[in-house]
Assembly symmetry: C2
Homo-oligomer: 232 residues x 2
DNA sequence: CAGCATCATTGACATGGGTCAACGCTCTGG
DNA sequence: CCAGAGCGTTGACCCATGTCAATGATGCTG
């Protein structure tokens, strides 16, 4: 059995609040599960039966209108928490953007454990508050920013979050791999795939970014990107 | 001194988790404060020094771009919690939409109290999870819905939330007073004031709603409204 | 290596909603 | 009762972005 003690996200996930013996108990109720690219772990509207910690990989949270228009409402990385504890239904689908690993719990077992471990709940609260701030910040982008600003903002944020996730000391990396297709970028930004593509082309032709291949982005002029994003 | 025991939101706010003696202690660190219409209680980007429970009235949470475009990212009602506990900065401004009353705490005092009262933190966690679901749901509206759908969705949600807040047993009321001006509706829906006005006129001319005066809305055909909102 | 599926780019065109401007209603204070 | 301010409505016009369609890359499979 894989032990929590050796878990790569041990010190960043909400589990970091737990002592060795507590971790032992948590270890018994959770199991490590691989999730393949494109696989959906939870569906919008389902009963909330599972929650999980992301160990490795990137997943999207999404909702759709009745007629099939999709909006990505969050992107989660290793050490992030997914699912809806203390609630009866899951409000959005969770789908792997690349092959991933999660540490899965039944909601009932997790809820029980959390209720008896205030430190864990506190970590979860902090994480949820941060996610709420992030979601609300994204609402400004969706409600008020132009297509050009959206794409630039997205690229800057992606650079930042991938830098945070790696160990590069917090500086945004200027070269990175997108974990999203163009369609997924469009679904995240509230645009169409064509508009995303045109904005990327525009930024490339302006010499602000480079796109060596369709998954790679190089930010050539960070200052110009900030201006494009409407910061400042 | 006004006692928590007599507070109108006593049974709905996060304080409902507390026993009489605990409430006694909380009573000492909080104070009831009136907030006038238009008054801003916290500013985006400020150090997070205050948190509060809403006792009476309606307030908006908002963010802006550098060049002044505004987006309302949340609307809070009696018993809701405002401010950013366990964090150093407030990510959005909080402004009263009508004269209101809040129960104000310094963040440090509240944080200390919360850390030693897991039941309170649990309530706060539940509330925050619900707010996060709500914010993400709104992202679908901002990213993917048409102007007509946005206005209809807003009116239905407002009817629902005002019904929840009053004691009408949970049924949406078909007649209600808007706590928002047209500009504020536009800021919430990611539209302009003209578009909001035109969509309201359209719904009125279609016989789906009535607008007896500029603050009052009457939903005449609830089914048609659901269709307008894109809830197939 | 050929054939096919998937993903991305580009162009031409259409349109929803933004912009600008005029006007109307309502309330307040003198 | 009038003047002015604030808020809302309506109309004309325009442009950013969506829509539709063709083409180009990339990579997988047999």
């Amino acid at each position: 059995m894989t032990s929590c003690q050796q878990c790569v996200v041990r010190n960043r996930a909400i589990c970091s609040s737990l002592s060795a013996p507590e971790l032992e108990v948590l270890n018994k109720i959770g199991r490590r599960v691989p999730v393949h690219r494109g696989q959906t772990l939870m569906w919008e509207g389902d009963d909330s039966l599972l929650v999980a910690n992301v160990i490795d990989g990137v997943l999207k949270l999404s909702t759709s209108t009745a007629d099939g228009r999709e909006q990505i409402v969050g992107v989660v990385y290793p050490s992030d928490f997914i699912g809806r504890p203390f609630g009866s239904t899951t409000q959005h689908s969770v789908t792997a953007l690349c092959d991933a690993q999660v540490c899965l719990f039944t909601r009932s077992a997790f809820d029980d454990f959390a209720r008896t471990h205030p430190e864990l709940e506190h970590k979860l609260l902090q994480r949820t508050l941060t996610e709420l701030d992030r979601a609300r910040h994204w609402m400004l982008l969706l409600g008020r920013k132009s297509a050009g600003e959206r794409v630039a903002t997205f690229l800057l944020e992606m650079a930042q979050r991938l830098a945070d996730a790696s160990c590069s000391g917090g500086d945004a990396v200027e070269r990175f791999e997108l974990p999203l297709t163009r369609q997924q970028m469009a679904d995240l930004l509230g645009l169409t795939i064509e508009t995303v593509s045109r904005q990327l082309t525009r930024l490339r032709q302006a010499g602000i970014i480079d796109l060596p291949d369709r998954r790679t982005v190089v930010i050539l002029d960070h200052e110009a990107m900030e201006a494009e994003a409407g910061n400042g």
